[in-house]
Symmetry: C2
Subunit: 241 residues, 2 copies
Amino acid sequence: MLHIVGLGPGSQELMVPAAVAAMEQAEVIVGYHTYLELITDYIEGKEVVATDMRGEVERCEAAIAIAKEGKRVAIVCSGDAGIYAMAGLVFELLAAKKDHLDVKIIPGITASIGGAALLGAPLMNDFVHISLSDLMTPWEMIERRLKAAAEADFVICLYNPRSMGRPKHLESALSMIRDYKGGLIPVGICKDIGRPNEQVIVTTIDELNEEDVDMTTTVIVGNKFTKIYDGRMYTPRGYQL
Amino acid sequence: MLHIVGLGPGSQELMVPAAVAAMEQAEVIVGYHTYLELITDYIEGKEVVATDMRGEVERCEAAIAIAKEGKRVAIVCSGDAGIYAMAGLVFELLAAKKDHLDVKIIPGITASIGGAALLGAPLMNDFVHISLSDLMTPWEMIERRLKAAAEADFVICLYNPRSMGRPKHLESALSMIRDYKGGLIPVGICKDIGRPNEQVIVTTIDELNEEDVDMTTTVIVGNKFTKIYDGRMYTPRGYQL
């Protein structure tokens, strides 16, 4: 039996009880070592398989192999288990080998939802999630999605917005969004949600400082109706008040 | 102090500890009566303000008024507190009156994420949330967003997919999506996630039976790469295996 567990943003207050139960029941815990630091309380005395960040395939293959030996395995992910995370890769690997395993996925609070709660209520109308990482999706496809989302005035959640390897992706994305929505649209920036150094910034496309954004940041761009009030950003649902 | 609390899909296993803590600390609990049935353990002995489903504005106004009296209030929502839910409305009401209140939002597992975990891993690449309810968004806008999302091949999560008042919305939406993606695209249907009568169906656009879908259902339409294997649906992330 393999559990794929979403840990949420990092704090125990935002980790669902089903995630804790899956870790407690597991004999073996598999995960990226930075995530394992979030759950030291739950992994004490267990067999642990830690890999580095780029080791996703290796990590999932190890988890599957150990589960096939008959052990109870939990593979842990930050945020949700199925959003740009490990759940899909486990199914891809099983399908490639025409293999079967009992897989149970425990969902978690993903960064957009955890971040939105800190920012106010930006996700009150239709929204998209777009990852700006072109490691596995061609940049042309990302660009097409950014334009489609901006043109149809979705609220836009940007994952993996900026890294050393792609310092210009956020700038390009915001410039495309600005073409459709204008520069005065509210933007929220969240970093290290639920952790001691949590950072939350409410700004606009024009005022955003790129230096506030890195790989562990989530950026939420409002729709044309999104407003800033009393330090929070919110998107009206459409009630007649 | 006003807490706006996302309860998740319904089971205690998927409710974050911060939600439980907010309810325990509250003197007054405000919510739609069906949601209050999910949390009878936490509201015993507390003052409860229950409203019917269409009473969202009334519910938020009541919660704000009681909080302004100095009481600790928790307003509860199913799923997440800020996705087509109460958090945005509270900020709208405060802004309309130029009023201030300490508001803390506790995020929850929304239906798409809870449903995706049961279906497999459909949300492994860029996705959108679109509500098919035209009570507060004009149908033309919903249609524009459906087309933009289908054309740019996002995975599409449909909220409020079908009700007595709008029996044809799902059919129209799927027909628009089919024009871009074709009818063989996997579709997942989830009903009553985490509750005793939970139902999960993996099918395709062409094979979907509309009778399986009602107001409490979440529908997830894959992208062109989404696959069905061993009864689950998953969207490849793009790893070279």
